[in-house]
């Protein structure tokens, strides 16, 4: 993979001020507090964390749907937070967003054709109306819908179909990067797989960079190349997905992974479990933000904020003072190998859901 960075966040912070009466300074919520990350061109980058850790805010900061309180976002080397006018328009063309809730993210009063055609109307105004129509039809086919769907309204579709409409809208003007804010978490599990595969296919075919926000670790492991783990407005661990999943160094990541229920129903306990609730982001604990819930917390953790950049390994960074010593304690068992029969069934299922032809090889293997 190339090291060419397409999107970069430098120490980005977003504080939501609940301003007091007559302009008095109120309590501010530190939704995102000093996040730095870089997304490489063509990769699928995942941001994972619990609800309320600031993932969605971070996504909106990267998209410039919000302006950061401090810090910078760079897209293709250009500063995103300050641009206006034509430059902003170009950014809107190059960077697209997929929303979490397919039921609320499509204007109920617009037909699919207008919804999908709208980005074209803005970014390709030279397209004639019939041309735009045929482009919309092509986009709909590309996301697995039929062109006859163009005249319908969003409420006539299922959640998965609506999300496909949202995706068609996002890819309409050939963006370079798509940010998905939990693009599948509002969908049925059976539909999730289809949408994930669609996103994967599109990013491959169109050479897209994907930034996926999620809390579902299974989804992330399946689709992303690199992953960043967020906790309470900060990134605690970032690295290649496989490395992070097989060799998590931050106690929070270890706890997250330990919380994945295992297929055989046996509880997994590696001394990495976490108790209690996430502290309020309006009053984050001093030092390491995780120390209130960390089973390994020591005095240093309560006073000194651990820094991502201090870790030696650039491809796998951890914001923990004791990452090296803790590492040995976490042993996650390898997932059991699926039997040939199970594999065959999965292959059959994949073929069926992707609409391909079902070959009988699979069946023969199975029997």
């Amino acid at each position: 993979m190339s090291q060419d960075v397409i999107l970069e966040a430098i120490d980005v912070a977003k504080h939501f001020g609940t301003s007091g009466v007559w302009g008095a300074k109120g309590h501010s919520v530190r939704a995102v507090d000093g996040v730095s990350l870089s997304v490489r061109r063509g990769e699928t980058f995942a941001i994972v964390g619990e609800s309320g850790c600031g993932k969605s805010t971070l996504a909106r900061l990267l998209m410039r749907l919000m302006t950061p309180t401090s810090g910078d976002v760079l897209f293709d080397g250009r500063q995103v937070s300050a641009i206006q006018g034509e430059e902003l328009k170009t950014l809107r063309r190059d960077m697209q967003f997929i929303f979490q809730d397919p039921f609320s993210s499509l204007n109920p009063r617009m037909t699919v054709e207008r919804l999908v055609g709208e980005p074209l109307e803005i970014h390709a105004p030279e397209l004639s109306v019939p041309d735009r129509r045929s482009r919309v039809a092509e986009l709909l086919r590309q996301v697995g819908l039929r062109s006859e769907h163009a005249d319908r309204y969003p409420h006539e579709f299922s959640g998965g179909q609506r999300q496909r409409i949202g995706i068609a809208r996002a890819i309409a003007c050939a963006p370079k990067l798509i940010i998905g804010d939990e693009p599948v978490s509002a969908l049925d599990v059976s539909v999730q797989a289809q949408v994930i595969n669609l996103l994967g296919d599109l990013s491959r075919d169109l050479g897209l960079t994907l930034v996926i926000i999620a809390h579902d670790l299974g989804v992330i492991r399946h689709m992303s190349d690199r992953v960043a783990v967020m906790y309470l407005g900060r990134i605690v661990e970032v690295g290649d997905t496989e490395t992070v999943f097989t060799d998590p160094k931050h106690p929070y990541t270890q706890a997250l992974l330990a919380a994945i229920p295992s297929m055989d129903g046996k509880a997994v306990d590696h001394g990495a479990t976490v108790h209690g609730e996430m502290p309020s982001p309006s009053d984050p604990p001093p030092g390491c933000r995780f120390h209130t819930r960390c089973p390994h917390a020591q005095t240093l953790c309560r006073t000194k904020v651990p820094d991502l950049s201090t870790s030696r390994d650039v491809s796998h960074q951890v914001a923990c003072h004791f990452a090296e010593t803790l590492q040995q304690r976490f042993q996650r068992p390898k997932p059991r190998q699926r039997s040939d029969a199970t594999e065959a069934r999965f292959a059959l299922y994949r073929a069926a859901t992707e609409g391909g032809t079902v070959t009988h090889n699979a069946k023969q293997n199975q029997s």
């Binding site: 998209m63 063309r93 929303f99 499509l106 009063r109 617009m110």
Partner: protein, 295 residues
């Protein structure tokens, strides 16, 4: 009926679209009181529009031989203190009343809705200025404000309409602003921004259509209030000027002859009552029909 014209409509679901509009229409048709209101409104509108075509006497023609005549075959609703036909004046007066209702609410919507959208969408100091002005206007009772403005502008039907329109504007600013505040947080508005849609288009394509249903309801209810306001202004001599007929001024002269000629007061009074009732029932029906929670 427990609801009054001053009720603010409950927030309506923006997820109304072409198909569910059929459902809205069906629901509306099954709404008995709404249909009664609709029939009343249509009746008065047709009456006002047909005034020049109907075989009725000139509403300004005096007949000193038939002063304060009781209803008869010649004058179905009687005559007034200078022998003018009450029915003719009533029918022509419907024009003034309905025009005042519709035009003044039109003025209020035309100014109130854009102000509300701008205040709600942009927030900040724009919102602060608009909201404080709105609240200041709302602090003055509606009719008092209309009377003051009409007196300031000078007595005429046009000025009365302007005065009523300005007085009704703050209601629409407030209602629209509130609706916009909730709708601008919807994901689909954010999606419009993410796509790069210019702000004027976001306002006209995403915000306006989704705030319209409650505004439609409020407008219908406010027409009723505006008709009463016009009648009040005309009663006080600040609206329609004599000899042009208006229900309010008819009532004003009729009050001097309540014992001798009660029909002079009865007919315009009943007309105001039924037209206002009609618009209120219609507005309530629309509100129920557009309310998705009762589907």
């Amino acid at each position: 009926m427990t609801k009054t014209a001053t009720d603010t409509p409950r927030p309506l679901d923006p997820t109304l679209d072409a198909r569910s509009e059929n459902r809205v229409w069906k629901k509306f048709r099954n709404h008995k009181s709404a249909m009664i209101g609709g029939v009343l409104v249509v009746f008065f509108v047709l009456l006002a529009l047909a005034a020049p075509l109907l075989p009725i006497p000139d509403p300004a023609a005096t007949d000193w031989g038939a002063v304060r005549n009781a209803p008869s075959w010649d004058h179905w609703m009687g005559t007034d203190e200078i022998g003018r036909d009450v029915m003719a004046r009533l029918i022509w007066g419907a024009q003034a009343s309905l025009a005042a209702g519709v035009v003044s609410v039109g003025i209020a919507v035309l100014f109130g809705v854009p102000l509300g959208i701008v205040a709600g969408y942009f927030g900040g100091w724009v919102d602060a200025v608009v909201s404080r002005c709105t609240e200041a206007l709302l602090a003055v009772p509606f009719l008092i404000l209309a009377i003051a403005l009409a007196a300031f502008l000078g007595p005429s039907l046009t000025n009365a309409m302007i005065a009523i329109g300005i007085s009704a504007t703050p209601i629409f600013v407030r209602l629209t602003r509130g609706q916009v505040l909730s709708i601008k947080e919807e994901d689909y508005v954010e999606s419009a921004r993410a796509v790069g849609l210019p702000t004027p288009k976001i306002l006209s394509r995403y915000i306006l259509p989704n705030v319209l249903p409650p505004i439609l309801v409020q407008a219908t209810l406010t027409i009723a209030t505006a008709i009463i306001a016009e009648a009040s202004l005309s009663f006080l001599g600040l609206g329609q000027q004599p000899p042009a007929p208006s229900w309010g001024s008819m009532l004003n002269t009729a009050k001097n002859f309540l014992n001798q000629a009660p029909w002079m007061a009865m007919w315009p009074g009943l007309s105001i009552f039924f037209v206002v009732l009609g618009f209120n029932l219609l507005g309530d029906g629309l509100r129920d029909a557009l309310d998705p929670r009762e589907h």
